[in-house]
Amino acid sequence: MGFLDNLLGRKRETSSTIAKERLLTVLVHDRVKLTPDDMEAMRAEIIAVISKYVDIADPEAIDVSLLRGEESDHLKADIPVRRTRN
């Protein structure tokens, strides 16, 4: 549907947007000096701590990532918590 997206002015995933996204990810890791291994270890520890207090819905769905910010970079953890009544 690339041409329709283009005609309607919608953004298509071009190789330049892929390049930019990949660069932003690699640079934030370069700058914070966190290796994928460290990241994985940290993720496991965060899950362990959080699960002491709340019921984590799906450990596989947990997303821990580094994001680029204006002044500083951000570590973002998105942890789905199980929703229970009473």
């Binding site: 041409f3 283009n6 005609l7 190789s15 330049s16 930019k20 990949r22 660069l23 932003l24 640079l27």
Partner: protein, 270 residues
């Protein structure tokens, strides 16, 4: 007050030497007294790019080690009486020179010139450190490729760590058609990623190859878009407010429509 400006990049092959030769020539054409210093010891190249390779007697290491006086090693460009080259040694390596030597050398050159342009070697080690040691300002050259931009980011951090102020960016070898098709990062993309000030965008231009073949530089060629871009950068260095060149690919409405349909637009080259 003389200015020492180092041109560096991190990644090799992105156009540091070409940039140094073109900016040096453009500044000389604006009436500035300029010396271009080849700090890539052991991999001498600025001389061939400037077309001065046949006239080298002494080099930078000879000056540093006291085998000749500074003025004896300077090669005058006959085409531009205000332009000089201090060539690198070809048979030595980067360890022949220390950062202190480079600071002293740059300070001696300040007395004779308005601009000292230092062409840095690629990399982040000794040669790069020598090249920025005496600098007042740093220009970082990159191309819109992931590898070059990543290395440029590393260099930005190092330049700031060495307290050389905020480096400015030259984005080299932009291909407007590819940017329009979304197949190459734009200057906005690269500036957003690196978060440094842009001093110029240089289009990919065959004239760079053909003029370098002859030992000439693009700023000498009328009608060269890259030459025009380098002249504009030189004027910006001199404090002029020169608007960024709008790089056009001369797409007609039909081309744009075909492009939107995902069909390859006709190419028109100016």
């Amino acid at each position: 007050m003389a200015r020492v400006i180092t041109i560096t990049s991190g990644k090799g092959g992105v156009g540091k030497t070409t940039t140094t030769a073109n900016l040096g020539t453009a500044l000389a054409m604006q009436g500035q007294r300029v010396v271009a210093v080849d700090a890539d010891i052991g991999l001498r190249n600025l001389d061939v790019v400037m077309g001065l390779e046949n006239r080298i007697v002494y080099d930078l290491v000879d000056v540093v080690e006291g085998r000749c006086r500074l003025r004896q090693a300077l090669i005058k460009d006959k085409r531009f009486p205000e332009l000089f080259l201090l060539p690198a040694a070809q048979t030595r390596d980067k360890d022949a020179v220390s950062p202190e030597d480079m600071i002293e050398l740059c300070n001696s050159l300040r007395r004779e010139f308005d601009f000292v342009l230092v062409d840095s070697p690629a990399g982040i080690e000794g040669g790069f450190r020598n090249a920025i040691a005496g600098a007042d300002e740093v220009l970082i050259v990159t191309t819109p490729e992931v590898s070059a931009v990543r290395d440029a980011d590393r260099i930005v951090g190092l330049v700031e760590a060495f307290e050389k102020g905020h480096p400015r960016l030259i984005l080299n070898r932009i291909r407007p058609q590819m940017v329009n098709r979304g197949e190459m990062m734009s200057k906005e993309d690269v500036v957003e990623i690196l978060a440094i000030d842009l001093i110029g965008v240089v289009p990919d231009d065959e004239v760079i190859v053909t003029s370098t073949n002859r030992g000439e530089v693009a700023v000498m060629q009328k009608g060269s878009q890259a030459g025009r871009a380098y002249t504009d950068i030189a004027r910006r260095l001199l404090g002029e407010d020169v608007p960024m060149l709008v790089l056009t690919d001369d797409q007609s409405l039909l081309d744009k429509f075909m492009g939107a349909l995902g069909l390859r637009p006709r190419r028109t080259v100016r």
